[in-house]
């Protein structure tokens, strides 16, 4: 399931809902991304996430479908917020459920790695010197690329 929204989400309720009643599930792996109050050596007081409605959902669905092709998954979930967020706020939740632990753990890492380089979101960080667009990180490209090997 894919959701793109401004509202926060209840992690416990979301993980329960994705696994409830499916007793073939042996493990649920999840990753929650949150807003840090620092970027490099610069203080961050808030950030605004912009995205490309339509393409976002299309790309997230493609990433989810790829994960389901690579691993035997019982359930997958991606929730990504946009709009203005403050330090400590949740940005994203990805979760995968499988009969097998390694499938859940690996596919969860895959989802967040691919999401970071494919989903059309952009972060505008607010700090002491005003607002600045976050630059993409080569580490993120490398993290996504390792799944191509």
């Amino acid at each position: 399931m894919i959701r793109v929204q401004t509202e926060d989400f209840d992690v416990g309720a979301e993980l329960d809902a994705m696994s409830r009643g499916n007793h073939g599930i042996g493990g649920i792996a999840s990753f929650i991304g949150t807003v840090r109050d620092i970027a490099g050596d610069k203080a961050v007081s808030a950030m605004t996430l912009e995205h490309y409605p339509g393409m976002t959902e299309k790309q997230l669905a493609a990433v989810e479908a790829e994960a389901r092709k690579r691993w035997p998954l019982e359930a997958t979930l991606i929730i990504h917020r946009y709009g203005r967020l403050e330090p400590g706020d949740r940005i994203v939740l990805v979760a995968t459920a499988s009969g097998h632990r390694q499938a859940a753990l690996e596919s969860c890492a895959f989802l967040i790695d691919w999401l970071k380089t494919k989903a059309p979101f952009w972060k505008l960080e607010e700090g002491d010197d005003g607002a600045a667009w976050v630059e993409s990180r080569s580490e993120d490209d490398a993290a996504a690329a390792r799944w191509d090997q």
């Binding site: 991304g33 996430l49 912009e50 995205h51 490309y52 339509g54 393409m55 299309k58 790309q59 990504h80 940005i91 994203v92 967040i112 999401l115 970071k116 380089t117 494919k118 989903a119 059309p120 979101f121 952009w122 972060k123 505008l124 667009w133 976050v134 630059e135 993409s136 993120d140």
Partner: protein, 83 residues
Amino acid sequence: MKLLYFAWLRQRIGMAEEDVTLPSDISTVGDMLEWLRRRSDKHAEALADLSVVRVAVNQDYARSGDPVGDGDEVALFPPVTGG
């Protein structure tokens, strides 16, 4: 053609979207970018370094040699930074 701009490309070009008529002799993403650069000084400045410009045609990533036509939805944006 519907053009969409995001993040600092939107800010530098000064608009979120515009409708343009693509000349009939332009059929690839690369040629379209060269043509767009000549639309205004702001376009030229925003598209000066194409290594930091990503292109989507009909909401899928496209490269310089990929085809593009006047009926497409084309988006220009910087490398993504979500998650």
